[in-house]
């Protein structure tokens, strides 16, 4: 029932599978240098002993800056520079981003703690805000990169070949690069992993082994997305550009 995921800064350079700490609404995670006072220890001399607290608050989260003199910057990595500043001593500052990177200035280094809020709600194309309306269990932001990745994965099947093989990660990179120049294998793979979290994909039995199981994950994502109409044919416009953000396709509201 978690709503917020905290990804601590990488501890070693090569670590690929970074820890994820999952917070349910109301849960609090304190971080800082001191190993005894904090839930998450950030072993860097430039970080305050008790540096801050992250609290999951429903679908969003709040940040307390417990340091004496450092200002923390919370960046939206997909927001073209969009960020907020949380000054020293500020308690419970709300953060509106789905993806955030808390940058801790630490003696010349910048340490990044990532926080994901995958449960943000969006107005569904045909539903209201009302708690009595039957609503789909997913809500996706069609302006985010993960949506473009999902659309690229679904594209062959949406274009009329129900059994078309799924594009490989490299093909997805090529497909997206015209409008997302920084696209890379890693970033696309990151978005696929994030989609699995966001769409609450049930880990299949194959997750026990660590071999190449990416295909299973992609396959599940695509069949889920098509089954529940998360991506429809008119959504493929995100692959054509112009660059994000993309307005909802015309005709959607009428449905």
């Amino acid at each position: 029932m978690y709503s917020i995921i905290v990804v601590p800064p990488p501890t070693t350079e090569d670590e690929t599978d970074r820890t994820q700490i999952r917070l349910a609404p109301g849960e609090r995670l304190s971080f800082g240098r001191s190993a005894s006072d904090n839930d998450l220890t950030i072993a860097h001399d430039g970080v305050s002993r008790r540096a801050g607290e992250i609290t999951a608050q429903g679908a969003f989260w709040i940040l307390s800056n417990l340091s004496r003199e450092q200002t923390y910057v919370v960046e939206n990595p997909e927001g073209a520079g969009e960020h907020i500043k949380v000054g020293p001593g500020r308690l419970d500052a709300p953060v509106p981003f789905e993806f955030s990177r808390i940058v801790l200035p630490a003696a010349g280094d910048l340490l990044a703690v990532e926080v994901w809020a995958p449960r943000h709600d969006y107005l569904s194309p045909d539903g209201g805000l009302d708690g009595a309306t039957t609503a789909p269990a997913f809500s996706v932001d069609r302006t985010k990169r993960y949506f473009a990745v999902l659309a690229a994965l679904c594209e062959p099947r949406l274009r009329g070949e129900p059994h078309a093989p799924l594009p490989t990660v490299d093909q997805v990179v090529d497909r997206l690069r015209p409008h997302w120049p920084a696209a890379s294998r890693t970033s696309v793979q990151w978005n696929i992993d994030y989609l699995a979290v966001k769409l609450r994909l049930k880990p299949g039995p194959e997750t026990a082994d660590t071999g190449p199981r990416l295909n299973g994950k992609k396959e599940s994502l695509v069949s889920l997305a098509l089954r529940f109409d998360l991506v429809r044919e008119d959504d493929l416009i995100v692959l054509r550009g112009p660059a994000r953000p993309v307005a909802p396709a015309p005709g959607r509201a009428a449905r």
């Binding site: 997913f138 049930k202 089954r227």
Partner: protein, 523 residues
């Protein structure tokens, strides 16, 4: 209702033998219109509800989930015909290339209702017939669950009220047939009625796993809403209430039900809204308690017009649908309905013999020997839940009499290490094994006080477990031996080859009351 209709259909439009009349409602997936029969030569009713689902627009690929939702609804209607579920007469597909917006739409021809519970609640918060309606809604759920289905989207808008004021469940788009302990439903839900374990739950390719206990949670929310005009979880918005549900499920918050909730219902709602699905009450046991609560709540003010008369049982009154009172909620297997509260409400009733709480199970349990009326239904139903013939209502009643003299508040902490509590003198660590209707031990040892509604069904289950474990060679009345095993254990009674000497007194008392409570002519 200014929202656009999902499927606009002009008035007077013909589909099959039906002519479309006024719009009734529009939901997340389609629109419902009144329909009037214009063709002849069919046994269909003159008026129906026509549910139009937009299967024709767009490509089939884009509407794959809608197709699936419709299939679910049709499949359920095809397989299940139960008195508390709305009926479907037929399905049609619109063939009208002239109207691309309608061409290919699927039309479900359904029994026409007077309105929905949500419309009733909007007009009359806390309707007087609330308890009776809840009993019927619960009956519908029990019927669904017994048939092996889960509704998946129980809420006031999906409860329809018929002309005679009775309630039926409708909208089976999310319904799914159970496969073992759970079913798979599409990943749609109504936030205010979603149990916490399904909030942000994992979703596999087959959809979301759901158990009948999800419907039980939704029923708890609905009962609270009907009886108090408020949601059980605090918050001004669905999102706030969803977060409150999450906090409650995590154990950081307690459940604070409205003080307006009558006591009898408080326990019921609490047992529906447990933190985890495993602790939730089963719908069959729920039904018995809901009927008891609705029945005891209504009986003192039962209008005279509802008393049985020698009249045609087909007569039904259409007056004052909102003030309808359920006779069935009081008694046993009666389904006659009548309007009440208006002066003209005289022509109703039935020739069926009515059974009130005071005479419930009279053929097996005497009514004149001081067994408290409030427990009759629990006692009789608990005995009936057991397949062993020896576990009779009279045995359970005699046991309760011998254990506590029917004292629901008995508390005797001095006995043994844990003490004994409640009407059946349960030892907490033993009750743990029998408290749940599904025969699984509760996760934690329950803490007293134990209510009769918990204690008595658990006695029935325990006795039912004991019976086959007693040797057939034991001398004496087998029912007394069962009671003796309840006091000690089946092992002790087997080893001592009969009633152990130290509980002789107790066994004699059970034997005495057993005889007293059994109606003449019964064993």
């Amino acid at each position: 209702m200014t929202e656009p209709y999902a499927v606009p259909v002009p008035k007077g439009y013909r589909v099959g033998v039906w002519e479309v009349r006024e719009p009734i409602a529009t939901g997340a997936f389609g629109s419902v219109y009144e329909g009037r029969r214009v063709g002849t030569g069919t046994a269909r009713p003159a008026e129906v509800a026509l549910k139009f689902l937009p299967t024709g627009t767009g490509t089939p690929r884009q509407l794959s989930h809608l197709r699936e939702l419709i299939d679910r609804e049709v499949e359920l209607h095809r397989r299940l015909k139960q008195p508390r579920l709305i009926r479907m007469y037929e399905t049609l597909v619109v063939d009208d290339p002239e109207r691309p917006a309608l061409d290919g739409a699927t039309v479900l021809v359904l029994e026409k209702a007077q309105g929905s519970l949500s419309a009733l609640l909007a007009r009359t918060p806390r309707p007087e017939a609330g308890p009776a309606l809840l009993a019927q809604i619960c009956e519908g759920l029990a019927q669904l669950h017994r048939a092996g289905w889960v509704h998946g989207d129980l809420k006031p808008a999906n409860v329809l009220l018929m002309q005679d004021g009775s309630a039926r469940l409708a909208d089976f788009n999310m319904a799914a047939e159970l496969e073992g302990t759970h079913a798979y439903t599409p990943a749609f839900s109504t936030p205010d009625y979603t149990p916490p374990e399904l909030l942000w739950s994992e979703i596999g390719e087959r959809g979301r796993r759901i158990r009948p206990s999800a419907d039980v949670w939704a029923f708890g929310v609905l009962a609270h809403l009907v009886l108090t005009d408020s949601f059980p979880l605090p918050g001004g918005t669905p999102t706030a209430r969803r977060d409150a549900a999450a906090a409650y499920a995590r154990g950081t918050d307690e459940l604070r039900l409205s003080p307006e909730l009558p006591d009898a219902w408080r326990e019921i709602v609490r047992d529906c809204l447990t933190r985890t699905h495993t602790d939730r009450i089963g719908s069959q046991a729920l039904l018995r308690r809901v009927e008891a609560a609705a029945g005891t709540g209504r009986s003192p003010r039962l209008p005279r017009s509802l008393l049985p008369r020698r009249r045609s049982r087909r007569t039904t009154m259409l007056a004052a649908a909102t003030a309808v009172v359920a006779v069935s909620a009081l008694g046993y297997g009666i389904s006659t309905w009548a309007g009440a509260g208006t002066e003209g409400a005289g022509a109703s009733g039935g020739e069926t013999t009515k059974v009130t709480a005071a005479t419930y199970g009279a053929s097996e349990l005497r009514t004149d020997k001081g067994i408290p009326v409030a427990y009759r239904r629990l006692i009789v139903d608990s005995a009936h839940d057991c397949v062993q013939q020896e576990v009779t209502p009279a045995l359970i009643a005699a046991l309760l009499k011998a254990e506590s003299n029917f004292d629901p508040d008995l508390s005797d902490p001095s006995v043994g290490e844990e003490g004994e509590y409640g009407i059946a003198r349960w030892t907490p660590s033993v009750l743990r094994w029998w408290i749940r209707a599904d025969g699984v031990a509760a996760e934690e040892t329950p803490r007293p006080p134990f209510t009769p509604a918990e204690s008595i069904p658990a006695v029935g289950r325990y006795l039912c477990f004991i019976e086959p474990r007693l040797k057939t060679s034991l001398p004496g009345d087998r029912r007394v031996l069962i009671a003796a095993s309840y006091r000690t254990s089946s092992k002790v009674v087997n080893e001592e080859n009969g009633v152990p000497a130290r509980i002789r007194d107790y066994a004699d008392r059970v034997a005495h009351y057993l005889k007293e409570y059994t109606p003449p002519g019964k064993k």
